[in-house]
């Protein structure tokens, strides 16, 4: 298909470049992050509470929860494993600008083709960069305390890496840059304080750090005003039941209490941004519940 062919062309034409680029492209071709939707799933320790219901009040001590979960809760937890698939055929998007294009800071930003990440398709029409999450945590689960957690939000060749990031509230997002030109990171949250700060060239320390205090109802845009094509999405969330699909559209959400749960399926290219606003899924305890989410081509708004 068109997209794959293009990737091959990319591969063959760029192989002579630096090893960094080659490795990157290789990874892209091999179906890794580059061009396949850079995804960084936060390492989240899920602390399931007691779901039996009768000891909710008594489990006020934070230390008590894990042990209870280990003993009584584990067998009642389930998970959802699924895939988001584009239903219908779609011509791959052309790059935003190709290598060598006359754009701002072209020596860095137009070193390679800059992909249009609004719709990234993987194997078997799997859609990458789709947020699958619950807008409200199911009753009985504990809200997430991620104050000591650090996430990386990087930039290279005038692209944000990853393109989609789930950010637990309270955690710190370190904004890095691997480019020799300056960037700025401008977030547009709805319920949190927005940030707009310059990121110096080659900042590997992450002098800019972003923390979200509140969960948002849907992913929020993060942009660079210097390079108007650069964009990414953050989903600040206060529980652990969120995931971003990988390059082939796969996702997994585990640690769910058994029962029916409602997920929101959000994608930037979907008309109205939601592929599904409320997708009910029956989760059985123990085994993973497999689901496939069909994303009709007619839903696309590009």
């Amino acid at each position: 298909m068109g997209f794959r062919n293009q990737m091959i062309k990319l591969f063959t034409s760029r192989i002579r470049h630096t090893s960094v680029a080659a490795a990157m492209l290789l990874s892209g071709f091999a179906g890794c992050e580059y061009g396949g939707g850079a995804v960084l799933v936060p390492e989240v320790t899920i602390v399931p509470a007691d779901f039996s219901g009768d000891s909710l009040e008594s489990s006020s001590s934070p230390e008590a929860a894990p042990s209870q979960a280990a003993t009584s809760g584990a067998s009642e937890l389930g998970s959802v494993v699924g895939r988001v698939v584009l239903d219908g055929s779609f011509e791959a998007l052309t790059p935003l600008h190709s290598a060598g294009a006359d754009v701002k800071d072209k020596e860095v930003c137009a070193k390679f083709d800059t992909p249009d990440e609004r719709l990234v398709l993987g194997a078997d029409n799997g859609v990458a960069n789709v947020f699958v999450y619950m807008q409200k945590a199911p009753k009985g689960t504990q809200s997430l305390n991620a104050a000591d957690q650090e996430l990386i939000f990087d930039q290279q060749y005038c692209r944000f890496l990853p393109h989609c990031l789930v950010v637990p509230t309270g955690s710190t997002v370190k904004v890095l840059s691997n480019d020799t030109v300056a960037h700025n990171t401008h977030s547009y949250p709805n319920k949190n304080q927005g940030v707009n700060s310059g990121v110096a060239p080659g900042d590997r320390e992450g002098k800019l750090r972003i923390t979200y205090n509140r969960a948002e109802a849907e992913p929020i845009a993060v942009k660079c005003d210097y390079h108007s094509w650069m964009n990414a999405y953050h989903l600040p969330i206060d529980h652990a039941f969120a995931a971003v699909t990988d390059k082939d559209g796969n996702f997994e959400i585990s640690g769910l209490p058994a029962g029916e749960h409602v997920f929101a399926i959000w994608h930037e290219a979907a008309s109205g941004k939601f592929v599904e606003r409320k997708l009910a899924v029956q989760v059985a305890s123990g085994d993973a519940t497999p689901i496939e989410i069909k994303y009709a081509v007619s839903k696309l708004d590009l």
């Binding site: 960084l40 939000f153 990087d154 845009a221 005003d225």
Partner: protein
């Protein structure tokens, strides 16, 4: 005659008469005294003492809480315990006291000695100094020096002793100096006890202070014990005359004169004799006795418990503005009657000349107080509905009564009236001249000078002041180019027929023109007006789009929406437009003339849109800079597109077929049977008026000549004459001349030029009665005639009886049912009706505005046609009539003494005049000048997070922010109960200014989950002094519908608020990033504009607006402001923000400052030897950062995607445009100033590596450096020239980006 024993009258009888008359006199004296003593004010005052005592007792009760009593008891107990312990140590205490006395006496004697020794030493010093002056011998000098040194030694010794004495006194009674451990223990116990005793006494005093104060106040209000008996005694008749506590309260205002009869005398106001609590406030500046209806009318306890008090015991309802000593109108300076009118010296209800607010209240008062109107008192109290009219005596600018930073709209009704008169242009016919010679006597509402000569005349005469108002109607100078045939007649006859929302009043088809004669004459007059306007219309060069340009209707609609047209106009094709400043132009396609060669286009409309002043030099419509631009390599002419859009709704209308041709009218048959055409009859009428004899007129009509050459005639008659005075040959031409004659007479008669610029009428005088003193117009001069009869039988717009309407209102009111606002409106009509029947000014005015021609009722039969009333009917609503009446009744031309007339400070004057201009040019149509106010219930733990500064933030930036945007207390001090998610919670209320940046989810219905996000533009403090919770400007505050208490929309900026969502829709998504960009594209809120821009620049910008931003979809248009207006408006913004004006100091441009920076930074090690401060600054600007979005130092900004890239304003203007502090804060953190900006924090405080060699990488110095480079921009560009600075690159990228493998 010899004396006899005989009496002329019987002694016995005389004694009897004397005795009886004594008794009668005594009785009458007693009855007089009884009556005097029974004055109602005494009863009010007694009640008030009881009321105040009851309130005081409640207050004491509130202070003496259980906690208070417990505290009191515990302190007293502790004190007793200490006293007991002290008693045990009495002997020790006596001993210590004795020691202390000895030590004190010792110190005192030493102090005395030291003073003496000091004096002697000073004397010795003086002698020595004199010896030096007099050049005495060296020995002598040495001797004297020795003496002085000796004296100094003595002083020093005594000083040492004294210091020792002090320290000994300190040690008296302390354990440290005592060796005996037992005694030492007792001593320390004693000193501890004494210390706590003092502290206890202090805390006791602090605890009971409020209660003591309240109790002593109560004692004064309601004494107990012996004082109570004295109080009772002092209330006795006669005795009470000797300074009793019940007495008449007088406010004597010797300089605030009142007019009585023909003379001016000092004012005595005794109103507070009954209205005793007018100026009483409670802590927190709350009214101590707010008005209200308590559940039990006669129970003082109920009043106090419910905090609702009846008249006359209440506090002034607007005590922050009036009466209290801290208000701008303290009672001691202004009294009561200066504002309220009435008889200030009266001490009972009737004498005070109270005035009821409507006839129903009058009936109630009649029953309760025996009220009846007193026609003999010239200035009875103002009815409540007209209360605001007296403000005009002192507030001649009026604007401050409607807009005020502290008091808001303090007199909204009179301000409405003022604005309505401005809106409808009443002043065009009725001059409102605010000056008498050089003295201000009231509001000044006059037309501005119309010609250069008039302007010159005013400028040369110091006693004259130019008017400020423009004619409210469009110019008719070039009307032939605009209107389609027949439109003028069709429109003028009934303007509301074509455009229901028009401001133009109706002159024709009114109640005094219903007869056949008038109907025929009207058609002639209308045709005449059109004839004159078209004949006199001057040629105009219309603009045309480039030949071959194809206008795009769809794009025209979009440009119409985006370029600001809908900030003033409504158009039904553009959804959500509500502006009423300009006309609703939905139907404009029907009336404007089209091009002869292209019926789909109108060059006139194109010209008007593109360059309004070409058609009308004094129009308020601005030039929107609709210049041709290039899009996708094709030229776009926005004015042509908008023209095409406006005309696309349909074809022009054939008005010519809808109007009557006056020449086809049937002839009038006169009383003598002679038939004459209406045109000739009207010509006869006007010629006769111009003193042509009956025969002369007949001759003129017959011979088609006036018999004289045109040049010899001065009046309108000259249009009937040919140049040489010969008869007109052609019939059609003669008819046309007659029509023009009638047209000119009609324009003069109706004063069309009051609102329209008409060639030839520039010097014409206003035709109506001047209004500047109408509020004092002699009521006997009001022409009331048959109006009562008219209102009896007709009166209402539908022909029904006004009397019946009023009677219905009165009976509804008497029924006691709560009729709400509707009944109140009906009673307002009843009030006016009643006033009219009693020949009152308000009633006359009311009917004059409702039905201006109704005063001609039954009079048209006897009046000449040209003598009929001419006042047109304005499309006014009942409430608007009341507002206008309030204003006009306040025009009394009786200014009080100079010190009472409101004379604003320079700052306030600029603010007030600026507000007037904001309204005049509709600046607030586009721009917010006050942001929306949001009041909500705040959960302090969940809803607001105090701003935490990170390593990246500049502390200096914060200091600057707090200087520019001083923190505002967000908590209002009130609390409210809310139901959130089914639970009731009690939350404190907070209030702030901010813009809604997140709309609540449309699909969410539960108010607990409907969340709006606001960006605050001010620094807020959600805490108190003990626990501050500071939230900096640009913070997002999320408020759910459930917690929202009040959302007060912004003042101004309706267009911006409309434009933002429509731009977002165009972009396709309603996300936060799009909203930020849409706000950048819309007219900016002018929040703290005065602190931002330099006043001289703003002045220039207002006159000649340059393009500043590249992100906007529209430009600031150019208004026809006069230089004076531009100056006032520029000053206004500085004045409201408390900024410096009209000039600003620009420190960064100062060479001394630059030299100082050079030194300071060199000392700090941030500049090395040989580096020039400004050069380094220039490098900072020319580094790789600013160029990302701005063109810098002759280098062009690089565009990647013209649609998406953000280009910042040109930097070369910063030095003229912005203030230095503001620029510095902007560089520190732009969001703190404008939350929606795209400009990032470019120099985070923790980033020392981006320009490591500039100021040693110090970001703070870089910020100041950039600012200083911007303020020396042109100098640096000339001295240094274009520069490219590239910071030394860090080592090749060390790590791999995350997400790579």
């Amino acid at each position: 005659m010899p004396a006899t024993e005989h009496f002329f009258r019987s002694q016995k009888k005389l004694h009897l008469v004397f005795a009886i008359s004594c008794v009668v006199l005594l009785a009458s004296v007693i009855s007089m005294m009884v009556e005097d003593y029974a004055d109602p004010w005494r009863a009010y005052q007694s009640t008030n003492f009881k009321l105040q005592a009851a309130a005081k007792k409640v207050e004491i009760g509130r202070l003496r809480t259980a906690e208070f009593e417990a505290n009191l008891e515990s302190i007293e107990q502790q004190k007793q315990d200490i006293d007991k312990s002290l008693a045990g140590l009495k002997s020790l205490k006596d001993e210590v006291d004795a020691q202390r006395n000895v030590a004190v006496r010792h110190i005192e004697s030493l102090e005395l000695r030291l003073r003496n020794e000091n004096a002697l030493r000073d004397q010795d010093r003086a002698l020595y100094d004199l010896a030096i002056r007099d050049n005495l011998s060296d020995e002598r000098k040495e001797l004297l020096k020795k003496q002085f040194d000796l004296a100094q030694v003595l002083c020093d010794a005594t000083t040492l002793k004294l210091e020792k004495g002090y320290s000994e006194l300190q040690n008296v009674g302390t354990a440290a100096t005592v060796e005996d451990p037992e005694k030492a223990a007792s001593l320390s116990q004693l000193s501890a006890l004494e210390k706590s005793s003092v502290e206890l006494t202090k805390s006791l005093a602090k605890l009971v202070a409020d209660v003591d104060l309240a109790e002593s106040a109560l004692q004064k209000i309601e004494p107990s014990g012996w004082m109570k008996a004295k109080r009772k005694f002092m209330e006795l008749p006669i005795i009470e005359g000797f300074n009793g506590h019940l007495k008449v309260t007088q406010d004597w205002l010797p300089e605030l004169h009142q007019t009585l009869g023909m003379t001016e005398i000092a004012r005595f106001d005794r109103c507070r004799t009954c209205h005793m609590n007018m100026d009483r406030t409670a802590p927190g500046n709350l009214p101590a006795f707010p008005h209200g209806k308590a559940s039990k009318a006669d129970d003082i306890a109920a009043w106090v418990a419910e905090n609702k008090f009846p008249h006359p015991f209440t506090t002034h309802p607007n005590h922050e503005l009036f009466v209290t000593s801290s208000s701008p109108h303290p009672i001691a300076t202004f009294g009561c009657t200066a504002c309220h009118d009435g008889q200030g010296s009266g001490v009972n209800f009737g004498n005070a000349e109270h005035t009821p607010n409507d006839p129903h209240a009058a009936e109630d008062w009649h029953h309760e107080y025996g009220y009846h109107p007193n026609h003999f008192w010239e200035y009875p109290m103002q009815a409540e509905r007209f209360q605001e009219s007296t403000c005009l005596k002192c507030h001649h600018n009026v604007t401050e009564l409607g807009v005020h930073p502290k008091f808001g709209a303090s007199a909204p009704k009179v301000y409405d009236g003022f604005n309505l008169i401005g809106k409808y242009g009443c002043f065009g016919c009725h001059e409102i001249y605010g000056f008498d010679g050089g003295n201000a006597i009231g509001p000044d509402m006059r037309l501005e000078p119309q010609t250069a000569e008039q302007e010159k005349r005013v400028a040369e005469d110091v006693t004259q002041f130019a008017g400020k108002y423009r004619k409210v109607g469009p110019s008719l100078r070039h009307v032939a180019a605009k209107a389609v045939p027949g439109f003028i007649e069709y429109w003028t006859e009934v303007p509301g027929r074509f455009r229901p929302s028009t401001k133009m009043p109706q002159f024709f088809n009114l109640t005094n023109q219903e007869d056949e004669l008038a109907q025929a004459f009207e058609a002639v007059e209308l045709a005449g007006i059109a004839k004159v306007l078209l004949a006199d219309s001057q040629p105009i060069d219309l603009l045309k789009p480039t030949a071959g340009y194809e206008p795009n209707v769809q794009r025209g609609k979009q440009l119409f929406s985006e370029r600001g047209c809908v900030a003033c106009h409504q158009h039904e094709a553009v959804e959500g437009t509500t502006a009423e400043f300009g006309p609703n132009i939905s139907d404009i396609h029907r009336k404007v003339s089209r091009n002869a060669d292209n019926i789909a286009f109108s060059d006139w409309l194109y010209t008007w849109i593109r360059e309004p002043t070409r058609y009308h030099a004094r129009t308020r419509m601005p030039n929107l800079y609709l210049d041709t631009y290039t899009q996708d390599e094709a030229a776009v002419d926005p004015a042509a597109d908008i023209t095409a859009f406006l005309l696309s709704k349909g074809e022009q209308e054939d008005f010519a077929s809808k109007v009557v041709d006056p020449l086809t009218l049937p002839a009038i048959v006169k009383a003598d049977g002679v038939e004459i055409s209406p045109l000739d009859e009207l010509v006869t009428l006007f010629l006769r008026k111009s003193r042509f004899s009956e025969d002369a007129v007949l001759d003129i009509l017959k011979n088609k000549t006036i018999g004289q050459p045109a040049a010899k005639l001065v009046g309108d008659e000259r249009v009937l004459a040919t140049e040489d005075g010969t008869p007109v040959v052609d019939d059609a031409e003669w008819a046309s001349r007659k029509l023009e004659y009638i047209g000119r007479r009609t324009i003069s008669r109706y004063g069309c030029y009051a609102c329209h610029d008409i060639p030839g009428y520039e010097d014409a005088r206003p035709i109506g009665v001047a209004l500047q003193d109408w509020g004092r117009k002699d009521t006997s001069k009001l022409g009331l005639e048959h109006i009562e009869e008219f209102l009896h039988h007709h009166g209402e717009p539908d022909g029904s009886s006004t009397l019946e309407r009023v009677e219905q209102a009165m009976s509804d009111a008497n029924s006691g049912a709560d009729g709400g606002q509707k009944l109140e409106n009906e009673l307002t009509q009843a009030y006016f009706y009643d006033s009219l029947i009693h020949h009152g000014r308000p009633g006359f005015l009311w009917q004059k505005l409702r039905g201006p021609r109704t005063y001609d009722y039954l009079k048209t039969e006897t009046k000449g046609y040209d003598e009929r009333l001419r006042m047109p009917k304005f499309p006014l609503k009942e409430q608007e009539i009341e507002a206008i009446a309030t204003f006009v009744l306040g025009l009394v031309a009786e200014p009080p003494a100079e010190q009472y007339v409101y004379t604003p400070t320079e700052r306030d004057r600029n603010r007030i005049e600026g507000e007037f201009l904001l309204a005049k040019y509709n600046c607030t149509g586009c721009h917010m000048v006050e942001l929306p106010t949001i009041t909500f219930g705040v959960d302090l733990d969940e809803d607001v997070f105090p701003t935490v500064l990170s390593d990246a933030d500049h502390v200096k930036g914060l200091e600057l922010l707090l200087k520019i945007r001083k923190p505002k207390a967000a908590l209002t001090g009130q609390r409210k109960k809310f139901v959130i998610d089914g639970e009731e919670v009690d939350l404190p209320l907070a209030s702030f200014h901010g813009i809604r940046m997140v709309e609540a989810d449309a699909e969410e219905e539960d108010p607990s989950f409907r969340e709006s996000g606001f960006d605050t533009w001010e620094t807020l403090d959600f805490g108190n002094s003990e626990d501050p919770k500071r939230v900096l400007a640009s913070s997002r505050i999320t408020v759910t519908d459930a917690k929202m208490v009040e959302y007060v929309p912004a003042r101004g900026g309706k267009f911006a608020e409309w434009l933002v969502p429509s731009l977002m829709k165009k972009e396709g998504s309603l996300t936060s990033d799009n909203r930020n960009l849409a706000w950048q594209a819309a007219p900016p809120p002018l929040y703290q504009e005065g602190l931002k821009v330099q006043t001289p620049w703003l002045y220039q910008f207002l006159l000649e607006p340059e393009k500043i931003r590249y992100t906007t979809v529209l430009r600031m248009p150019k208004f026809t402001l006069s230089p004076k207006e531009a100056q006032t408006l520029a000053n206004y913004f500085a004045a409201v923000d408390g900024a410096e004006f009209p000039y600003q100091e620009l420190i960064p441009t100062d060479t001394d400052y630059v030299a100082e920076m050079q030194d300071v930074l060199t000392t700090e090690g941030l500049l090395t030897q040989g580096e020039s401060y400004l050069d380094e600054c220039w490098k900072s600007v020319n580094g790789p950062l600013c160029i990302k979005c701005h063109s810098v130092g002759a280098r062009k900004y690089k565009v990647s995607d013209p649609k998406k890239d953000i280009q910042g304003p040109n930097l070369n203007r910063v030095q003229q445009r912005l203030r230095a502090d503001w620029v510095q804060l902007w560089l520190y953190n732009p969001k703190w100033i404008t939350p929606y900006t795209s400009m990032p924090v470019n120099f985070p405080h923790n980033n020392r590596t981006q320009f490591p060699d500039l100021f040693e990488g110090d970001p703070e110095a870089q910020v100041t450096g950039i600012r200083d480079a911007l303020f020396n921009y042109s100098r640096l560009l000339e001295d240094v020239g274009p520069t490219v600075y590239a910071p030394p690159q860090a080592e090749p990228v060390a790590g791999e980006a995350a997400g790579e493998e």
